[in-house]
């Protein structure tokens, strides 16, 4: 029962990632693609969590933390690129 539910949820997460990939390819504007990349990150984290429940192991929990950190930094970089046009500034005018 629980194993079947977990397998179905992994399949649904994979479908969600597929839909987000379609949005990245088709997406008319840049913010659509950025939000789709964030959706892929969150769904990868959830998939790794469910897989580690299925395999009954704790070995993947640090991978979840690393994916969360990298997705956070990536989202900040993309939003700064959308807002300012450049990512790393040499001298900030203040």
């Amino acid at each position: 029962m629980i194993a079947g539910m977990l397998t179905i949820s992994v399949i649904l997460f994979a479908l969600t990632i597929l839909v987000a990939v379609i949005r990245i390819i088709l997406g008319p504007s840049l913010p659509d693609r950025v939000v789709a990349l964030d959706v892929i990150g969150v769904n990868l984290i959830a998939t790794i969590a469910v897989v580690s429940v299925i395999l009954n192991t704790k070995a993947f929990l640090e991978a979840i933390l690393i994916l969360g950190i990298l997705s956070f930094i990536g989202t900040i970089a993309f939003s700064k690129f959308i807002e300012r046009g450049k990512i790393v500034e040499r001298k900030r005018d203040r």
Partner: protein, 140 residues
């Protein structure tokens, strides 16, 4: 137009130390658990990139006054020196030694010379990645 990013800068100041502590943890967790020098170096690079996003290149050069090229060289010297040190003990290249010690604060621990090699890898990854980001992001 004067930009206002108080939230980003305040968050980056706190999250930098969280990511840096996690990178140190994952650096020392290597060899028996997932982790090691490469992932730890990449996470430290991610923390410094977060500071670069929130502030600018000159501020980061002031608060982290390292020459990252020399850091890469020191890391390569450490890794190659650890790898080449094994041939003086009449064992094959890259052989590593380990033993168990009873340290006062850590209890029963096993110390490996592979950790020295890993710290060399850590320095190489951080130095080369930050050098690439500084030289790409610096030009206007």
């Amino acid at each position: 137009m004067k930009t206002n990013d108080v939230i980003l800068q305040t968050t980056a100041k706190v999250v930098f130390f969280i990511i840096f502590l996690f990178s140190i943890h994952i650096f020392f967790a290597g060899h028996y658990a997932p982790g090691g020098g490469f992932v730890g170096g990449l996470l430290t690079t991610g923390a410094i990139v977060l500071l670069l996003l929130a502030f600018d290149l000159r501020t980061i050069q002031q608060i982290l006054p390292f020459n990252f090229t020399i850091m890469t060289a020191i890391g390569l010297l450490l890794a190659l020196g650890t790898a080449a040190g094994s041939i003086f003990f009449n064992v094959p290249f890259f052989t590593h030694a380990f033993s168990d010690f009873d340290l006062p604060l850590f209890g029963h621990t096993s110390l490996h010379t592979a950790m020295l090699f890993d710290s060399g890898v850590y320095l190489v990854v951080v130095g080369s990645a930050i050098t690439i980001i500084q030289s790409i992001g610096g030009d206007d």
